[in-house]
Symmetry: C2
Subunit: 593 residues, 2 copies
């Protein structure tokens, strides 16, 4: 068990994440704020009984804005930003003003349907509360200002009364998890054990309480099918599942609960060994935005929601701190550099909710249900854009953890803390320089990424479960790591039947794809040569391959001829930034018979 | 131009079709009748204002029963069957009794919604009328009894008044074509030119009349997007399209209309060169049960309705008589032995509406929309079962046509006419013995099937557009044909992107498939060896192939290993007769790179 080093103590100083965080501050945050203002989401906090243009506040508008606020808090912790601060203060003042005396705060169930409060577990009240609590904690921790936090503590106390003491709500646990992990966070911030107990209460009630009706008749949808300790396969709505598993991991850590930890291990194993896209995306169908069954990972109809990739990274991060095994950070890395990053456009202002692994725009003409092919600025359900923003801004949370004797480096980025200076262009390249200050006699545990076959380290070390343990001989100790980053071909388990005969291209943690804008259309007619050697670098890779020639007839007796062709790959997360076109992660491979 | 030889003059005397027709008479017809009686479809002809069990007569129940009646007529023409005759007479008497004085006959729009008569072009009134007319003609031609025909002539006269003379209906053309070809048939039976003119009127109005609202806002759905002579691509609901094209071909032949003929050629070319499954199925999506766009032929989500395969065969048969080019009968043959025959179970009593080319039962657990995997005895929309029955019973229509100098043999079956005796086990094998009587000085034109690479004929002949023209030297002339029938691998055009890297197995006109009941599950892990040689015969084929071994990890750096395995294929049309299992027509093929 190690303690995560908070983003507050970590400053991203440049490199890949420096650029991403700058874009997040300068493009994503203002764009999301502007859209939220345009759509009435900010004004909704005024609790007017009439609303413009007939757009009544949606049940989860509170959470959309709360995630934006949480992102703003993270950004304000790093640098002053009067405009952002003004928006924050405006919102906090409204929350303070509009919160009911008993502590309740929810826009929709005050303004639109006040009689339906705590009536339906799928109406996201506790989910909104959870995001508000997270935002309040973040704002307090970032700025020391406690008005928002006080409001949310009051709200939490009201929730405690309704759900734990009086049990007077129409349901026992929320249909969409989030409050659980938020309460653990509130406990960590305030030191008040009642919030940990309340979070534990919600987690333990799930699948255990007859009051909770299965949503849509399907208990798996909201992970109600079994008590949480008995759950061993990832089921139902993927984002909900991830947030639950985060809370389970938090509680396992805080309470030393071996039963919860075993369940977390089983769930993590099931996800990463059976139910995760190569991009770290999860959720195989739009029906319930859900997990389906082992090895069911269709590419064209993948759901793979941006928020679910975030959720998987958050779950994995928690597990990394519980036990030092690189498979956790490996999964987080896979999700972050692929399924998550794909959710936002190159300019930071447009977003994917779903992230398919294959696109053929033409088949949309069938009229059947398929993911959209271009990122959008507007979502009616807009959970992903502010989630992207808060995740970007708090990425520092992922890098390090420490216990009495060891500092763990889980991820590599150009960043520093008071005791660590890390310089790297990772994931663009595999070289990392580390300077460790004031840590003589301790150990550094450096994750050797799962994708890495050959690496070198300037200091001797011992490898255990994917971490290289290096003794720190002095108080100013530098070491250089180099993860060789050749382009690799990856093959899926043959039960993933859509990927049979195909390979994916990875370079370091980054998954690549082909787009028709580079390779001409009908991408499935392409194949990677048996002994393909890749040229190029991070931004674009090339290799030898083939394209099947088009025959004259619809059905012919002669196999189509393959003509040599160079194939060009770009990072998957950058797909769909040059107009609508075909895209594929999995490409046919010569010699798979 | 040649005249088709009617089924009335053709007797199937044994072989493959002898068995099918016996099954049709003995199993399918009683099963469909029993289901129709159970569901109230027969009783509905009593026009009771109340109906049992709340099942009110559906808008197309008339047509369900009419198709069954048409099948019964074909069967009665061949042999006496008192039970069938009794059911027919019972229905005819009811029709005569319940027909309105003005000639109108429709159960739903008399009993359920009398005020909605001729109000909505998608409510199948004219479609039902068309099937009743076809049944009446068939019954008259089979038995010489004219009560039913008289009723339908009266109904046709009423339709002529409402639609052509007064134009008082709310629409100009039916949303579901069928009346058009039925009216041509009525003209051929009665010699009354007004029915040909009325059929022509409906065809010419289509896409030309502002009164007709696009169904569901989509003019293509019912082929209204252009005047018929300008249509060059098969669009919209596949069965509707086929029935329209049948009428267009009929009119092109009857009226010597070159514009219509050119449109028919273009449509036929578009279907068979761009929009047809290898099984002869058509309709690529359940959305609108429709054509989509060129080369869009997904296997798992194929619609490929049984009735649409029937429709394609009927259209192709008409084209065969217009111009002697074997591509027409080739397409009919493809549809008949695959997409059509698959529609009915081995025992003749259960039916597929949709005929996918690939089934993975597991993916149904996603909850997404997929074709059913087992034939059913009951359809609420039950167009296919009686359509199968009438098609089976009238198959003799397909075999021959003749003009002054030539007798055409389009298809091969164990059958005879007054002048032709044909013996063959086709399609089980390729040997055909023909005896031609009383035709000295004429020519026989024998179709050489498109799938056939090597054939022999005991008499010299000249090949032109797929027909072997043989002079008939005497009045009792026998000849032997042998179509070599090796198993063949077929490749789809590489624009059919789901089939890339895969091959289909055909033997003669019959498409084969693999099922997991024979080959174990995860059929996509199988591949056909590069130089596979097939053993076995019609019922089952085997060849060398491989199965990819299952790796331990979800994503690994080593391509899965292929282990040798024998693959077993059965005729596609026999799939899903041994319980629910995986099925695939297109199988991966070694050496397609």
């Amino acid at each position: 068990m190690s303690d995560p080093v908070s983003y507050r103590d970590v400053t991203v100083t440049g490199g890949f994440w420096g650029e991403l965080q700058a874009r997040n501050r300068e493009a994503t945050m203002p764009a999301v704020e502007a859209r939220f203002r345009e759509t009435g989401r900010f004004d909704a906090f005024r609790f007017r009984r009439t609303w413009q243009g007939g757009k009544r506040p949606h049940i989860f508008w509170d959470s959309d804005v709360a995630k934006w606020m949480e992102a703003a808090a993270y950004i304000l912790q790093k640098q002053s930003n009067p405009r952002l601060e003004q928006s924050m203060e405006e919102l906090v003042a409204l929350i303070e003003k509009k919160q009911r005396k008993n502590g309740y705060f929810n826009i929709h169930f005050t303004v639109v349907r006040p009689l339906m409060r705590w009536k339906n577990r799928d109406w996201h009240e506790l989910y909104c509360a959870g995001h508000l609590i997270e935002a309040a904690v973040a704002y307090y921790e970032a700025t020391g200002r406690d008005r928002f936090l006080r409001c949310m503590v009051k709200y939490a106390a009201y929730i405690e009364r309704v759900f734990m003491i009086e049990q007077s709500a129409a349901f026992a646990t929320p249909g969409h998890e989030e409050i659980e992990l938020a309460l653990v966070r509130l406990w960590r911030c305030t030191g008040q054990a009642r919030w940990l107990a309340l979070g534990e209460f919600f987690v333990n009630q799930r699948g255990n309480n007859g009051k909770d009706k299965p949503i849509g008749g399907e208990a798996r949808y909201a992970q109600d099918h079994l008590p949480v300790r008995e759950q061993a396969t990832a089921e139902g709505h993927a984002v909900r599942a991830m947030y639950l598993y985060c809370a389970m991991a938090d509680l396992a850590a805080e309470l030393n609960d071996e039963g919860l930890l075993q369940a977390c291990r089983a769930l993590f194993g099931n996800i990463t060994e059976k139910r995760m896209y190569v991009t770290g995306g999860v959720g195989s169908t739009y029906r319930g935005e859900a997990f389906t069954f082992d090895y069911d990972l269709p590419g064209e109809t993948a759901y793979s929601e941006t928020c679910a990739a975030i959720g998987l990274a958050l779950f994995a991060r928690r597990m990394s701190a519980i036990e030092p095994d690189s498979r956790y950070a490996d999964a987080a890395e896979r999700a972050i550099y692929n399924g998550f990053l794909a959710g936002v456009s190159e300019d930071g202002t447009a977003f994917f909710y779903e992230n398919p692994l294959e696109i053929h725009p033409e088949i949309r003409r069938r009229g059947e249900r398929l993911p959209i092919t271009q990122r959008q600025r507007v979502f009616s359900c807009s959970c992903c854009p502010p989630n992207v923003a808060r995740f970007m801004a708090s990425f520092g949370d992922f890098l390090f953890s420490r216990d009495g004797s060891t500092v763990f480096v889980h991820h590599y980025a150009h960043a520093r803390t008071a005791h660590i200076e890390m310089e790297t262009q990772y994931p663009r390249e595999g070289r990392v320089s580390l300077r460790l200050l004031g840590m003589a006699g301790r150990r550094a545990a450096l994750r050797i990424p799962g994708w890495c076959v050959n690496f070198s380290c300037s200091a001797p070390g011992e490898l255990d479960r994917g971490y290289l343990y290096v003794d720190i001989p002095g108080d100013d100790f530098s070491l250089d790591l180099n993860f060789e980053m050749p382009t690799q071909l990856i093959y899926a388990h043959p039960r993933v039947y859509g990927n049979i005969g195909r390979a994916a291209v990875m370079r370091g943690p980054v998954v690549y794809c082909v787009e028709s804008v580079d390779n001409g259309d009908n991408l499935r007619a392409l194949s990677i040569a048996a002994k393909a050697e890749f040229t190029g670098g991070f931004d674009a890779l090339e290799c030898d391959g083939y394209r099947l020639e088009e025959s004259s007839g619809l059905y012919v007796g002669i196999a189509p001829k393959a003509m040599p062709e160079r194939l060009k790959f770009i990072p998957y997360y950058r797909f769909a930034n040059r107009g609508e076109c075909e895209m594929a992660v999995w490409v046919r491979k010569e010699s798979i018979i």
